[in-house]
Amino acid sequence: MRSTFLFALLTFVSVQMSAQEESPVKDIFNHLGIGVSVGTDGIGFDLAAPVTSYAAIRGGVSFWPKVAISKDIHIKDNNPTIADEVTLEGKPNIFDFKLLADFYPSKTGSFHITAGLYVGKSAFLTATNTTQFIKDPSKYGKLGLIVGDYRIETDQTGHISAEAKASSVKPYLGIGFGRAVPKGRIGVTCDFGVQFWGRPAAYAWTVNDWGDRLYHKFSVDDLDQYDDKAIKDALDVIDKICVFPVLNIRLTGRIF
């Protein structure tokens, strides 16, 4: 809903801006370009169309390949039914629809200011154990780790899972060079900007004294002196990526 409204507003603003100087109606959506991009926001595909000579809109998707990163974690538990170490596997989980508007201060220049939205999954990173840390299956759901004062329980298959989540609607603001729809058949653009991720946080399923499963949002403040430094470092990093830098290169072609 918000995206639709924003799109309408952007279109309106764009038209109004152009209308101040000439009558460019004939320039609106008179071309269509297709783009492929690679950058910190992942791999992207989009369609682009000019909205007068001073603006263009781009819409498409971008995603991160699900390349897993594994890390062995020392388990602070001497119980013989618990493994000494567990391998945690983290996978990026970024898939966003994007709608961006480029504004060109100059009618023929390539420099542009871009604003828009990325809308997608709020969980941008998922992690689970790929090796069992409970050796006795009868203990699944009965024992686990403690982070801060929260018990991280296993499910009935012996797995724990955690997610890092940000806002599912991520505004974008940036600058770049190159036309969204090239004047020739092929063009290259580059963009540099930031996505505003809200305040990301780590989440995991916990269990309370009553046996209720609660999806808890963890912060550094939850931790105590007994927690592993690696957990504190991870939460620190997640907490600090309120603004995600975007740098990408986009190969674009004009369809018509």
Partner: protein, 323 residues
């Protein structure tokens, strides 16, 4: 051109308004659950009789009757003191009531207690119980008096605990069975928990002991012996006593008092020193919460083991009302 920049700025500000201040806050843990813990059927008949000045002599060598209590859950707890060392001994049994007569039965206590009321309230007129099959007759004397060894008449104080109107106490004062217990342990490169279920309605304290030993807590043989028990039930009373009843018929008893004005935690005073071990000390608090017909008692404590290592631990008993 200037207008373009203004429009652009407006658009940018509009975009910024979409920046969420935070993502979702996750589940918020409830603290106020519905509670279904009506007073036990026998709660109205509960009373406590204390012999405060000089303990009543019994026919058991050196033992004196200090008090006895009919609990809200139809149990009797007899408190005996050694006349020389003053060391307490507690004996628990079941009670069935017929009019003003309470029939007492159990592995180690049998007999009857008669109660009558007058203008001064309920008074015990006669108590006759046996302990370890030895006649423990206590003649409280005419009406409410019993004779001390010096021949002085003394009144026994009787408290009808049903007169104590307190919502939290009403919920708490009953006999509970243990569903399970959760051990949390932090310190010395350990940070883990494990939940142990009761087996056949019996909770094995040895499970807790084994968990602590596995995690590296150095426990003395004396404490190991104290923890190598099986709990049949936990009884709380309005007289602010906590009784642990073991499978072997023995009891451990603690007096408790509120630790805070909200009545969500209690501190305990061990009346039977055999109950004490490294998990219990003066700072020990028991946190109470209720839900449906259940109660959680979370014992939070700091443990210093025999090797001097310190741990932060908690033991949460998940209790269910026995009636």
């Amino acid at each position: 051109m200037k207008k373009n920049i203004v429009y652009l700025a407006i658009a940018a500000m509009f975009f910024m308004s979409f920046v969420a201040c935070s993502t979702d806050d996750g589940d918020v843990e409830k603290t106020d659950y519905p509670v279904n813990l009506n007073p036990p059927a026998a709660a109205a008949s509960a009373f406590y009789c204390e012999l405060p000045v000089t303990m009543a002599p019994t026919t058991v060598s050196s033992l004196r009757l200090k008090s006895f209590e009919i609990t809200e859950s139809s149990k009797i707890v007899v408190e005996l003191r050694d006349g020389v060392t003053n060391k307490p001994t507690y004996v628990m049994g079941d009670v069935t009531q017929s009019g003003n007569t309470y029939r007492v039965s159990g592995d180690k206590v049998n007999g009857t207690i008669s109660l009558e009321s007058d203008s001064k309230g309920a008074r015990v007129t006669r108590a006759s119980v046996t302990w370890f099959a030895i006649d423990l007759t206590v003649m409280i004397g005419e009406v409410v008096r019993y004779m001390t060894e010096n021949g002085n008449p003394v009144e026994g104080a009787v408290t009808n605990t049903s007169d104590i109107e307190d919502e939290v106490m009403t919920r708490l004062a009953r006999t509970w069975s243990i569903l399970s217990a959760i051990v949390d342990l932090k310190g010395n490169d350990i940070k883990a928990y494990e939940e142990f279920d009761s087996r056949g309605g019996i909770f094995y304290l040895s499970d807790v002991l084994n968990e602590a030993v596995q995690q590296g807590v150095n426990i003395s043989e004396k404490d190991k012996a104290a923890l190598n028990k099986q709990i049949r039930s936990v009884t709380m009373t309005k007289t602010q006593k906590l009784y642990l009843t073991y499978v072997d018929g023995k009891e451990d008893v603690a007096a408790w008092s509120w630790a805070n004005a909200d009545k969500t935690s209690i501190k305990i005073d061990l009346l039977d020193q055999d109950m004490g071990n490294i998990f219990l000390n003066d700072d020990t608090r028991l946190y109470i919460s209720f839900r449906d017909n259940r109660c959680n008692l979370r014992l939070e404590t700091t443990i210093t083991d025999d090797s001097g290592k310190r741990w932060e631990g908690s033991l949460t008993f998940k209790l269910k009302s026995a009636e």
